[in-house]
Amino acid sequence: MKQLIWIMSCLGWLAVAANAQAAPEDDRLNVVKAVQKKYPEIKFEDYVHGALAFSPDAKAQYDAVMAFPPYDAEIEKGAKLWETPFQNGKRYADCFPRGGKNVVGNYPMYDAAAKKVVTFEMALNQCRTANGETAYKHSDMNTMGLLTAYARTLSDGMKMNVKVEGEGALAAYEAGKRFFHQRRGQLNFSCAGCHISNVGNVLRTEYLSMAPGQATHWPAFRGGDYTLFTLQRRYAACNQMVRLAPLEIGGEEYNNLEYYHSYLSNGLPLQASVFRK
C-alpha cells in the first residue's frame, strides 16, 4: 500500500513537472487557435502587423512610411548611443553574445539567481552599471527609448524565442498571465478582452490587434509626429485607455506582463522600430 502511494505520488509529481513546461505552450497555442478560428484567412506570419491585417488602406499607408521612415534620424541617435564607448572604453556590444546581434528574441528571460524577469531594457542597464555608468530610466524615451530603437534592429528577423523554465519562471509567467486577464480600469476591460476576445473588432476608429505578434516590433513611432513608444509605454497607454492609472514602466508588474505577452509572440520574427497610428 505504502509503495503504491509512493509510486502514485511520483507519477503525480512527474505530471506536475511536465505540465509546468507544457502549460505556457498550451496557452500560446490556444490563443493562436482562437485568432485563427475567427480569422482563418490571416496568415500567422502576418500577426506581426497587428491591426494592419484588417485594413488594406492602413497597411498601404504603413508600407509607404516604412519605405522611407521619417524617424530614421531618431534611430541614428540611438545608434550613436549604442556605439559610443563607456568611460572605461567598453561598449554595449561587449555585454551581449554576437555583439548584440540576434539576442532580443530571447528577452524577457527569467534570471533564476536574481529571482526576477529581465527585460532587454534591464539587460542594457545592467551593461551600463557593470561598466560604471548610471542606469537609464525605463520611462525615458530620449535615452532608453532611443537606445532600444537601434539596439533592437540588430535582432531584426530573429524569431521570438522566450523560454519559461523552472518554478520561478513559471510563477512570473503566471503573474503576467493573470495581469493580462484581469479586468482593470473604470471601463472594466482586461488586455485579453480587447486583444483576444475582440480581435478585429473596431474600437472607436481602430481595429483591435491580436495578442500574438504584438511584442515583436518595438519601439513603435506613433502618430503624425512619430512619437517613440516602447512596448511598456504602450502598456501604459492601453491601461490609460480603460481609465486605469498606468503602472511603473520597468516595474515588476509590467515586466512579468511582458514575459507572458512576449511568450505569446514566440515563433514570429522581430522587426524593430515600425510605424503605428
Binding site: 473604470q186 472594466n188 492609472a245
Partner: protein, 107 residues
C-alpha cells in the same frame, strides 16, 4: 456573490480605517479654513486612493476626482472638496473591488 461580499467587507474595513485617519487629518488641518468635514473627506480620499494605487488598481477617474478635491481645498471651497472627495473615494473603492472579479477567459 463572493465579489459582492468582498467589496462590502473591504468597504467596512476601509471605513473603519478611514474614521481613524480622517479624524487625524482633521486635527492636522485645524488651522486651515476648510470645515472639519471637508478636511476629513479629503484625508479619506487620499488614503483610499493611495491604497488603490498600492494595489495597482487606481482608476484615472479616482485620481482625477482627487486632484479636483485637492484643487478645491486650495481654494478653501469645502463643499466642492466634499463633493469631489466622495467621488474619488467611491471610484478608488470600485477599482479595488475589481481585483476580486474573475479573470477573463481566452475565447
Amino acid at each position: 456573490m463572493k465579489v459582492f461580499r468582498g467589496a462590502v467587507r473591504m468597504l467596512a474595513a476601509g471605513s473603519m480605517l478611514l474614521g481613524v485617519t480622517g479624524a487625524h487629518a482633521a486635527e492636522n488641518a485645524a488651522g486651515a479654513a476648510l470645515t472639519a468635514d471637508a478636511a476629513q473627506a479629503l484625508a479619506n480620499a487620499v488614503f483610499v486612493a493611495d491604497l488603490a494605487k498600492s494595489k495597482s488598481a487606481l482608476w484615472t477617474t479616482a485620481a482625477g476626482a482627487l486632484a479636483q478635491a485637492q484643487d478645491a481645498a486650495k481654494k478653501q471651497d469645502s463643499a466642492a472638496v466634499i463633493k469631489h472627495a466622495a467621488v474619488a473615494s467611491e471610484q478608488a473603492f470600485l477599482g479595488m473591488a475589481q481585483l476580486g472579479y474573475p479573470l477573463t477567459v481566452d475565447h
